[in-house]
């Protein structure tokens, strides 16, 4: 260390270090790096920056195997958010992040602040947030009042924050499975728009420059959130953790957002960083690390919400709606004036210094001084010890299908009404999907959300997906399927993937079977994204998602952004014209009922492995579908997902408000064709000639004609395989009862 005198403060020792989540060897390493034992402020800062949440110590080595480079990538992993070039000088920033444990403890604020946090990541790089999507997992709503409560309040929290700040929520997904009962997942993805050369990085630069904290004042809320909540399993005493959940104020964030973008527009600041997990500790340290400089902070200058906060509390507080920027000394007055205009606190709290240390002062007293490198880079990384489990990790799902439901007619209705397939309208109607006037396709109008972003009709498609049950059955192929599902959703709107973000939600990686899930999933994600040429530009890892009943299903949520050259010719999901031919495109083999929705309803145990997926075949199908949508030859396009072919067909009828005929030698059709699941199958409609042309390129069977007020099998000698649209709609509306 430099000429520093030892900081003033209590040495709390190893027991406190362990209580804060550090291991004994880690504590020894800290002593080695400092040349002495850490004092209170230092121990607090190390314990956070060396937590799983901040240091990715169990996942970083794996993440390095992912593809991160491509022609469209503007910003990759390591910045606040990733960004891709969508053409026309427009850059789209995006990232997904989890707020799982806070949401399980207090769903409204946990979910709301999850949205707030991911939005700050977007505008921290100088992009204006233009959309939010969410990816949610809960226990079975029929069985569990707690799951219904978590769902209801999490949706309300997401809506409250996004609606109030004026960022549309344009899509998402929710699954209900028993392993999420005690550990729900709330992942939020945000997108922003910016100009490539106006994006800003977080690295602090310019010795002598001033560090300005602006936004909300700092309180005791959320102290230790990253280490207490995000880096440990759940136990029995979780109510005690409620004070660790932050409280959000979207109004404060709206002002912060506008203030930040105006600061950037005026060129007033050198670099910018949001305060998220671990508060000032992580944002200041990461700025210093990125810029290869040091930062000197005076905690006495930080505006506080309550008096008497200790220096360590100021440094680790996770109070929401705060930003940190580096400003040249002659621009400080401008910055503070703009803060005043937007009615946010702005305070100079520190200086960029040459010594590469984080120096924390309380007035004139130095209360902590640590090498930046030790804090940010020297946390030990751990190798996983993956081992494929020999016994099933998860119990078979409870059977919910009544034994007398056996006919094709009744099975389809049961699937449409099942929580994982029923319409999400009762949820998404609680979100503003319109503000900012970019939304070309609203939820349930097309398979992917579509936003107009350019003057010339150019736009983007966005999708987020992951079927955790399939990943549990086969972490490698299940993850490949999740990435392909996103790409299939994009293909339906004519979008070509440009980049991917991901949120790896897993159990405790120190357990060999979880390590195996994680390793296999990351391998699958990497292979799929390489094949799709959709590199990973950012993401998040959420580990230790385990409750008393065991781990969650492994859930590597994949978010994908693609370019749409002309949003005017985006195909809807639903059948669009009476008289059109419709067909099933893409599949070159029999789909499997293994780990399907129908198998779940029947209470079948998860299989050990899924059929391999022919990735090159899928890539060529996606390319052909995308081309057909772009040239306008498809009147509708909807991918086959949970529930299989017949469910996708019924959805195409429901979403288009039109019936259809289904012609074929019905009696001989195996159940696996009707209800089996596989990647990259599509229900397409259009003129017969257009479908025949597409059928020259990829597998495609024309099965019938669009029209009428029922989905009808032909021939139907028994008169039993007819579903009226009303009947289908009633089944599909099953979730409405959860939101009275």
């Amino acid at each position: 260390m430099s000429d520093a005198v030892a900081p003033v403060g209590v040495v709390q020792g190893i027991d406190q270090a362990v209580a804060l989540g550090l291991t004994r060897p880690e504590y020894a390493l800290i002593i080695e790096k400092l040349g002495r034992e850490p004092v209170e402020v230092e121990l607090a800062m190390f314990s956070l920056l060396w937590s799983e949440h901040c240091a990715y110590k169990h996942s970083k080595k794996l993440l390095r195997t992912l593809p991160t480079e491509g022609p469209s990538v503007v910003m990759g992993p390591g910045e606040n958010a990733g960004a891709v070039d969508v053409g026309g000088g427009i850059t789209i920033a995006f990232k997904v992040e989890s707020h799982n444990h806070p949401s399980a403890v207090e769903p409204f604020q946990g979910a709301a602040t999850g949205v707030g946090g991911i939005l700050r990541d977007i505008f921290a790089i100088g992009a204006r947030p233009i959309a939010v999507l969410d990816s949610l997992r809960f226990g079975e709503p029929a069985d569990s009042e707690r799951s219904r409560y978590l769902l209801d309040r999490a949706v309300a929290g997401i809506g409250h924050y996004g609606n109030s700040i004026g960022v549309p929520n344009i899509g998402g997904e929710v699954y209900f499975e028993a392993p999420y009962e005690t550990n729900c997942l709330v992942n939020a993805m945000a997108l922003g728009i910016g100009e490539r050369d106006k994006l800003i990085r977080s690295a602090a630069a310019g010795v002598g420059n001033i560090v300005v904290l602006y936004g909300a004042s700092t309180g005791r809320d959320g102290i230790g959130g990253a280490s207490v909540l995000a880096s440990a399993e759940f136990g029995e005493d979780d109510a005690d953790k409620r004070p660790s959940v932050q409280v959000g104020d979207p109004f404060e964030e709206k002002k912060l957002l506008e203030c930040s973008l105006e600061l950037l527009e005026k060129g007033s600041i050198v670099s910018l960083q949001d305060l998220g997990a671990a508060g000032l500790t992580s944002s200041a340290s990461e700025m210093a690390s990125g810029g290869k400089v040091g930062i000197d902070i005076d905690v006495a200058k930080v505006p506080l919400r309550e008096p008497g906060m200790a220096p360590f509390e100021v440094m680790v507080s996770e109070s929401q709606e705060r930003m940190l920027c580096v400003v040249k000394p002659d621009r400080v007055a401008d910055v503070l004036a703009l803060c005043e205009k937007w009615e946010v606190h702005g305070t100079a709290i520190g200086t960029v210094i040459e010594d590469r240390v984080m120096r924390i002062r309380d007035g004139d007293v130095v209360v902590g001084e640590m090498p930046v490198e030790a804090l940010v880079d020297d946390c030990p990384l751990y190798d996983l010890a993956p081992e494929k489990p020999t016994e099933p990790v998860y119990p078979a799902p409870a059977r919910t299908l009544p034994v007398d439901v056996t006919t094709t007619h009744d099975l389809l209705l049961a699937l449409l009404a099942s929580p994982n397939i029923a319409s999400r309208r009762p949820l998404f109607e609680q979100y503003d999907c319109l503000v900012q006037s970019r939304t070309v396709r609203r939820p349930e109008e097309a398979d992917a959300a579509v936003l107009a972003v350019g003057e010339d009709g150019a736009g983007i498609g966005v999708a987020i997906d992951c079927n955790g049950r399939r990943v549990a059955a086969d972490p490698y192929w299940g993850t490949v399927a999740a990435a392909l599902e996103c790409a299939a959703n994009l293909a339906c709107v004519g979008a070509e993937p440009l980049g991917t973000t991901n949120n790896l939600n897993f159990g405790n990686p120190e357990k060999p079977h979880i390590a195996w899930q994680l390793t296999e999933a990351v391998r699958g994600l990497g292979d799929a994204c390489r094949a799709l040429q959709a590199p990973i530009v950012g993401g998040n890892v959420s580990l230790y998602n385990e409750g008393v009943a065991g781990p969650i299903y492994p859930t590597p949520v994949v978010g994908m952004v693609g370019a749409v050259p002309d949003v005017g010719c985006v195909a809807p999901s639903g059948f669009a014209r009476d008289g059109d031919a419709w067909g099933l495109a893409g599949w070159n083999r029999m789909p499997s009922l293994a780990a399907s929705e129908l198998a779940k309803l029947r209470g079948e145990p998860l299989p050990d492995g899924l059929p391999e997926i022919d990735i090159p075949h899928c890539v060529s199908v996606l390319s052909a579908i995308r081309a057909a949508v772009r040239d306008g030859s498809l009147a509708s396009c909807h991918d086959v997902a949970e529930g299989g072919f017949l469910v996708a067909l019924a959805e195409a009828c429901l979403l288009g408000g039109r019936g259809a005929t289904l012609t074929g030698s019905w009696a001989e059709v195996p159940e696996a064709i009707l209800f089996g699941e596989d990647a990259c199958g599509f229900i397409v409609s259009g003129s017969r000639e257009a479908l025949e042309r597409l059928g020259d390129v990829i597998p495609l069977d024309i099965f019938g004609t669009v029209g009428g007020d029922a989905l009808r099998r032909l021939p139907d000698p028994d008169g039993e395989t007819v579903w009226s649209l009303d009947e289908l709609r009633n089944a599909h509306g099953a979730l409405a009862s959860l939101f009275p």
């Binding site: 609606n163 109030s164 109004f251 506008e258 609680q430 939304t439």
Partner: protein, 220 residues
Amino acid sequence: MRFGVVQFPGSCDEVDAVLAAERVGEAELLWHRDADLRGVDAVIVPGGFSYGDYLRVGAIARFSPVMESVIRFAQEGGPVLGICNGFQVLCEAGLLPGALLPNTRLRFVCRQADLVVGTANSAWSGDCTTGEILSIPVKHTTGRYYAPEAMLDELEADDRVLVRYANGHNPNGSLRDIAGVVGEGRNVVGLMPHPEHAVDPLTGSVDGLKLFASAASLRV
């Protein structure tokens, strides 16, 4: 025609309103702390959550410097349109009768709704026909129109119901399906649905454009 769109801290749909107004005229933002309306010909108080909806929706915005000028502008006969939060603000300011209460289901609701035009006799509905159906989205938590029975009778007698939710489309429990009302002078109107989000076939319908076009065709 030059439209001014008020911007409070917490406004969300102000840029959308500017974009909509620009389809029929010129438009600019008016900052809440600035009492100068800069000579605009019409004022739009947009949607959003002004001042975080704290205290009571619209209650704080009503006291901002710009609103003092908007109230004077309205009293002098200037055309003023309040959309969603703007409608709430105009009710708080006493420029429009009644109040907006939390939706019956106490949830935010965002959906396309059919509206029936109640009167073409206002500064913002002259291009419409009474009884015409407009497809315009709603999105709010606090949109249940309420006024005492006698006031509702008077509004109907005076032909001051701007738009009603069509049968089966009332999303919030508004009394007599009222979605928007007209002030006494017929220059001030307010509605919960968002006409600025119905101005482009690409993003929905174009029915909302009629309100902006109606104002643009006024003599100024």
